[in-house]
């Protein structure tokens, strides 16, 4: 039987109470923000609580919000840690889904930007192993007590974490001389279009 997003939110608030720093609805899905130390606990409750029943582990990833233009923010240099209200760091993003009651929950776990450390949820969801390995190598997040925290995609000797905003992809002109007379990027940089 379907559980509407609104009363799913109330159920979550009821079940989790103060463990969650902020709970809201976003496009029909429940959005939670959790502190790293209560992360595993919240995930276990979401999975085991019959009323919630989030048994389907959809994905775990991370978002580097260091250059995200929050409201009233001007353009900030990539890699500068945290804006005024500490929103601008790295956060682990977990999405769970309840197949019986058809509702979604997005868990945001903000981490410290300099040395992001997050407890691993492979204990709760065995499938999180690969997702955490990928987040570790791409964002440089260290997952504590992870069975096999090695690189998944990148080779061992790859330095740097590619998905961070500070990791620059070679711009076009670096790879190939711009074929035309005027390079639009320079034009754009010079305040053009």
């Amino acid at each position: 039987m379907r559980l509407e997003a609104a009363d799913a939110l109330d159920r979550v608030k009821g079940a989790l109470g103060d463990r969650v720093t902020d709970a809201s609805l976003n496009h029909g899905q429940v959005d939670l923000t959790v502190e790293p130390d209560r992360f595993v606990e919240v995930v276990t409750i979401l999975r085991d609580d019959i009323a919630l029943g989030c048994r389907f582990f959809t994905f775990l990833s991370a978002v580097d919000r260091s250059t995200y233009k929050f409201d009233g923010d001007e353009h900030r240099e990539a890699g500068s840690a945290g804006s005024q209200n500490g929103k601008g760091g790295i956060e682990v993003l977990v999405h769970l889904y309840s197949p019986d009651m058809i509702w979604h929950v997005n868990l945001h776990v903000p981490l410290d930007f300099e040395s992001p450390v997050c407890p691993s949820i492979t204990g709760v969801f065995k499938g999180a192993e690969w997702h955490e390995r990928e987040a570790a190598e791409m964002f440089g997040i260290h997952f504590t007590d992870h069975p096999n925290l090695t690189t998944l995609y990148l080779s061992e000797d790859f330095e740097g974490h590619p998905m961070l905003k500070s990791f620059k992809l070679p711009a076009r002109s670096y790879v190939k001389a711009w074929p035309g007379a005027k390079d639009p990027d320079e034009a754009a940089a010079a305040g053009g279009r």
Partner: protein, 375 residues
């Protein structure tokens, strides 16, 4: 319906005793004797649609070197060189005009992923898709086609293809058939391709285009017919209006008329003209009374022969009939739900109407081993 899927799975899992092996061999023998429709590629070429993304052709006159395509291309595979030329002012005393002249326009097909963004983004419609694809090279450097070669491809570009009837062609009233008159609005003849893009720029007037052998899809229909001849399906002879190869003009007219009522309102209307079951689809439709609703089966039969009489292809007719039946059933269940509760039995969940859905038509799920009913 879901129930018998599990049963079929159970039946499929039971160990047969060698019969399955023989049935498998029977399938092979059936194909061994059946004539197959393999095209011998080099001699017989498949007739591709004008939209096929074979190679990009350049119409040099249209290009104003705005570099949009080079910038939008995800693979950075378009190389353009140009220089500015000052032209004498048109009228004396006017300012000398500056014009961009194209020196080099090359597309490196070794990098190109044929996404078509350049063709789409070009504001002056200088780039077109041509369906030629046989330009393999031994040396990868020759895959970079220069301006001249791209212009040669222009000769193989075909006029854009005519659109399905329901398409909304700008500057054309969509052929939504009003309830009373089913007369088709004036059909544009096939000659003037009415592409959705603004008319002026698209018709590339390919002077040396080899005369398009009738419309691409019409040729393909024959080619499909010859291929599908051994099939039991009756292939339909569809003549696009305008190019009248066979069949009289009247017959073509009748056919286009039949085509247009593909819109649900019209099917709904023609479907139950007698009983006002579905008045204009007002948002809150008053539930029609139970007795004057048409049972699902007659809706199916009636729409089927209506459509085949009107000459639309059997597949489309059958599909429309099936949709009509589903709609009739839904109307019935709603009516039964709305009727006073004491007389009507507890309303079935709308998904499973009492009348067991007759398993027929070629989309009936094939039960184990036995062939479909009209195989």
């Amino acid at each position: 319906m879901a129930l018998d899927i599990d049963q079929r799975l159970e039946k499929a899992r039971r160990p047969g005793f060698g019969i399955g092996l023989l049935k498998g061999m029977a399938v092979l023998l059936k194909h061994f004797v059946k004539r197959n429709d393999v095209i011998q590629y080099p001699e017989v070429k498949q007739d591709l649609s004008p939209r096929t993304r074979g190679v990009i052709a350049l119409k040099e006159e249209n290009c104003t070197v705005c570099m949009l395509c080079a910038r939008e291309c995800p693979d950075w595979c378009i190389y353009i060189d140009s220089h500015k030329e000052t032209l004498p002012a048109k009228r004396e005393g006017g300012r000398p005009r500056k014009r961009n002249v194209l020196d080099r326009f090359a597309i490196d097909y070794a990098l190109c992923m044929y996404c078509g963004i350049c063709v789409e983004v070009c504001p002056y419609d200088a780039l077109f898709w041509s369906r030629e694809f046989e330009y393999a090279e031994y040396d990868i450097r020759q895959l970079t086609h220069e301006k001249e070669k791209l212009s040669d491809w222009m000769s193989t570009v075909l006029p854009p293809i005519e659109l399905e009837d329901g398409a909304d062609i700008p500057g054309q009233p969509t052929k939504a058939v009003t309830a009373e008159s089913a007369t088709p609005s004036v059909e544009t003849t096939a000659a003037s391709p009415a592409a959705s893009a603004p008319d002026t720029a698209t018709s590339p007037a390919p002077e040396t285009a080899k005369p398009a052998p009738g419309l691409a899809e019409e040729v393909k229909e024959q080619q499909m017919d010859s291929a599908a001849k051994p099939e039991a399906e009756p292939e339909v002879k569809r003549d696009p209006e305008g190019t009248v190869e066979e069949g009289t003009q009247a017959e073509v007219e009748a056919k286009t008329e039949a085509e247009t009522p593909s819109t649900p309102e019209s099917t709904a209307v023609t479907q139950t003209p007698s009983t006002p079951a579905e008045p204009a689809p007002a948002p809150t439709r008053p539930a029609p009374k139970l007795e004057d609703l048409e049972p699902a089966e007659d809706a199916y039969g009636r729409v089927l022969d209506e459509q085949t009489k009107a000459g639309s292809s059997p597949q489309v007719a059958e599909a429309r009939a099936k949709v009509a039946r589903v709609k009739a059933e839904r109307a019935l269940t709603q009516a039964r739900a709305a009727a006073p509760t004491d007389t009507a039995p507890t309303p079935e969940p709308s998904g499973t109407p009492e009348a067991t859905e007759p398993e027929q038509g070629s989309v009936a799920p094939p039960d184990e081993g036995t062939k479909g009913p009209n195989d």
